[in-house]
Amino acid sequence: MADKSNELEVSAGSAVARPDRLQNPGFEPEHQRVTDESPAREKGAERGVSFLFLLSAILSVAAFVLNFIFPIVPGDLLSTRLNNLFVGIAIAAGLLTLGVGAVHWAKALMHGHELVEERHGTRGDDATRSRAAEIFTEANKESGWTRRRVLRNSLIGALVAFPIPAIALFRDLAPSKSPQELLNHTLWKKGVRLTRDPNGVPIKASEVTIGSAFHVIPETLGDVEEGFLDEKAKAAVLLMRLPLADLNEAEDRKGWSYDGIVAYSKICTHVGCPVALYEQQTHHLLCPCHQSQFDVSNHCAVIFGPAARPLPQLPIAVDAEGYLVAQSDFLEPVGPSYWERAR
């Protein structure tokens, strides 16, 4: 009763109370299932459920046996597929018959009438609540939590300070160098040959026909022992040759290309996917992740999509043997933006 009175005091907010609302008519008369009315149907349902359980057991054993009928033969992909298919289907069928059997048992045979349980307010009753409050008061008195202020505050201070050592502990999640330095440099430097990805064969300028595109890595990448992928993730380059008439080069970058051959970082300036799709006719590069598009004829300026900056250009030249080489490293960090990037 105490619960009820508590509930009545609670505000109903802007809910509308209508005294003349329709009244709950009470429970509908129960309707009988076929298994309640016909003993034959009941017997049938019982037999059906037992059959399903039995079938489930047989199927589980069958799944075990099928492992031997369709064994995995090393090197034979078809055998893996067949093993996966037949064993999986048998297990699935075993599980499904078990599930259907249990649900059918509950629906057709178990006592079918709905039962009613009373709800009580979620809050504890008044006696419990006042006892809880009393406990806190007693604990407070016995410990002096509110009385001994200095003591309490110094405890809070100690607890706040206690995780501080962790900050230092977690510093060694990464090496002691700072990331900005690493992000600023790639393997490219003066005289490093442009080679094919992934086999590392150097590229002669004469091999780069108009309209072709090469996926390029620096020649020195092959010598990298530690952090091979880290270096590749920064140094990957796309090499393309455009008809000279299509190439609009800025004055200060005229010397960065060779006879219409240009090299640009392959790492998207958006979030770093490889900008791998080259559209030969329009000279557009498309990033397959978020569809940023870059115009190769205009220094890879962004023409569509979420990227904000052009792809960095790698200045290239030709060495004495006719191979393409880098003139220097990239003159700006490659890949996605970060806070200190422009410094």
Partner: protein, 537 residues
């Protein structure tokens, strides 16, 4: 001896044994108290209440299959040359993580099956949590006293996505590596500390050789521990609050009507576990998922067109795609990558609104009572319309994650698809809100009509005067009750507080209340019903 007496004797022995065991346990654990408390707890029945169960059971399947996978998978980024049984990759350099995933796929009995079970179950897990949340939202089952459990469930949804993403990355294949690359790019954009966070997360430069073992620890220890802890609290609160039920004859806010845990609910739920498991197993044996052997090991240089994340990450990826070009500014040497920060902020705001919605609605209605009757979505048109707007917003982002596939499959330009979706992201939710509210109000009007004038019988009668009329049959009192028993709110009035002031909060609350409840259809009252019946006679 007859068969009957033999049976009786053996069952007597069986019962004595069970009784003995029960006594043994109870004397040591007080188990009878738990059985008394839980054994006959009532669970109401409705198909939509099973969505949460699907989430729970697929999580169990994930735990089972995931444990199997840990016996074979090695979370190491040490580079090796593959020498397993999948011929096309023989001799290729790859991480141990990737090669052990290949071995477990091709050389371990049931390895491929368990990988596919694990992946499909994970997709189902996140999907069923999402649908379960929609059910709770649209029926108002988040109202007092369940607001906290809504927030816990929301936490589980976020954890499920984190579990999905970390797990998806573990094989260290080309696709998942690109996913990590995108995360790296997003992390780097964080103002001030982005480069450092990425550096610490990856243990050096991207990709480094630490990220896979780190994600592994998160994936199999930290995140599952959190999921299990929150799940436990979620279920305890479900027991404490008892389940909501839909309005119906005999059902009130003070009772709960349905099947007891023992035996009916236990049999149905237990059977349903096997059904969920069976369906996942059937899909896993018939439909390939994440065939990592066709992607190859991670390499920062190649990527193929049409790459897609798992479905639940799609909305975030889609948001990244919808930002127009050039949203990046350098101010005083500091780079602000608004093309990445905007999506992060928009998505954060979106999910925070989802998390705190129960408190917003409670503040607007000012209703402090407990609510145990689930709303029919039509009976709270504004809430339902807000939900529809949210679903539309999410749906547009989700569609955007497949913008390139729309373009290639339907022969559209990628620019056209993106621009259309950009417009839809803003206009779509507004249209959805407006249309849903209209539909909900119309359905409420139809319900009123049915209560007052009965339902159409399809019997056309010609009256003596030549007029045709369709006969309406009245509803019985049980049907009527289902259609009229809902809460009704009026817009709150702006009233000065005790100090005679009208605060900004009061004004805001009043205008939100007007927005919510200005258009409303009142449930049929006894007076109305009487006057209509009077008119007929």
């Amino acid at each position: 001896m007859t068969v009957a007496t033999q049976n009786k004797q053996s069952s007597g022995r069986g019962m004595r044994f069970v009784g003995g065991v029960a006594n043994y346990l109870d004397e040591r654990t007080s188990l009878s108290g738990a059985v008394k408390f839980l054994g006959r707890k009532i669970f109401p029945d409705h198909w939509s209440f099973m969505l949460g169960e699907i989430a729970l059971y697929s999580f169990v399947v994930i735990l089972l299959s995931g444990t199997f996978l840990t016996f074979f998978y090695e979370p190491s980024m040490v580079e090796v040359h593959y020498n397993g049984s999948y011929a096309p990759l023989k001799g290729i350099q790859m991480s141990v993580a990737y090669s052990s995933t290949l071995d477990l796929t091709f050389d371990v009995r049931g390895g491929l099956l368990m990988r596919q079970v694990h992946h499909w179950a994970a997709l189902l897990f996140v999907a069923s949590i999402g649908l379960h949340m929609l059910r709770v939202f649209f029926t108002g089952a988040f109202r007092k006293p369940r607001e906290i459990n809504w927030v816990i469930g929301f936490g589980l949804f976020i954890l499920a996505m984190a579990e999905g993403f970390t797990g998806y990355s573990l094989p260290d294949d080309l696709l998942s590596g690109n996913g990590l690359r995108i995360i790296d790019g997003m992390v780097k954009s964080i103002p001030g500390i982005g480069a450092w966070i990425s550096y610490l997360l990856f243990g050096g430069e991207f990709p480094g050789d630490n990220i896979i073992p780190r994600l592994y620890v998160l994936h199999i220890m930290l995140l599952p521990a959190l999921v299990i802890a929150l799940l436990a609290v979620h279920l305890v609160l479900l027991i404490v609050n008892k389940h909501t039920q839909f309005a119906g004859p005999g059902r009130t806010n003070e009772n709960v009507v349905g099947a007891p845990i023992l035996p009916v609910f236990a049999a149905k739920a237990g059977g349903f576990f096997f059904l969920v498991f069976g369906v996942i197993m059937a899909i896993a044996s018939l439909v390939t998922i994440n065939p990592i052997w066709t992607y190859g090991p991670y390499d920062p240089s190649p990527v193929s067109a049409g790459t897609q994340p798992d479905w639940y990450i799609g909305f975030a990826d889609g948001m990244l795609r919808l930002i127009p070009s050039g949203w990046e500014y350098v101010a005083g040497g500091d780079t602000w990558s608004w093309n990445i920060l905007t999506p992060i902020i928009v998505l954060m705001v979106f999910i925070i609104i989802v998390a705190i919605y129960p408190f917003i609605e409670a503040w607007i209605t000012g209703d402090k009572r407990e609510h145990h009757i689930a709303d029919r979505p039509r009976n709270n048109p504004t809430r339902t319309a807000i939900g529809a707007a949210g679903v539309t917003f999410y749906g547009v982002l989700w569609a955007a994650a497949a913008s390139d596939l729309f373009a290639t499959h339907f022969r559209l330009t990628i620019e056209g698809v993106i621009r259309t979706l950009q417009i839809f992201l803003i206009v779509g939710p507004i249209i959805a809100f407006w249309a849903t509210k209209k539909i909900a109000l119309a359905l409420q009007r139809k319900d009123r009509e049915m209560v007052l004038h009965g339902y159409e019988s399809s019997r056309i009668v010609r009256l003596p005067g030549g007029e045709y009329q369709e006969i309406h049959y009245p509803l019985d009192e049980y049907e009527q009750w289902r259609l009229v028993s809902y809460e009704e709110y009026a817009p709150a009035q702006v009233r000065p507080n005790k100090r005679g002031k009208i605060t900004v909060g009061t004004r805001m609350r009043a205008s939100l209340s007007r927005f919510y409840f200005e258009d409303r259809i009142a449930p049929v009252t006894t007076k109305e019903l009487e006057s209509v019946h009077h008119g007929h006679h």
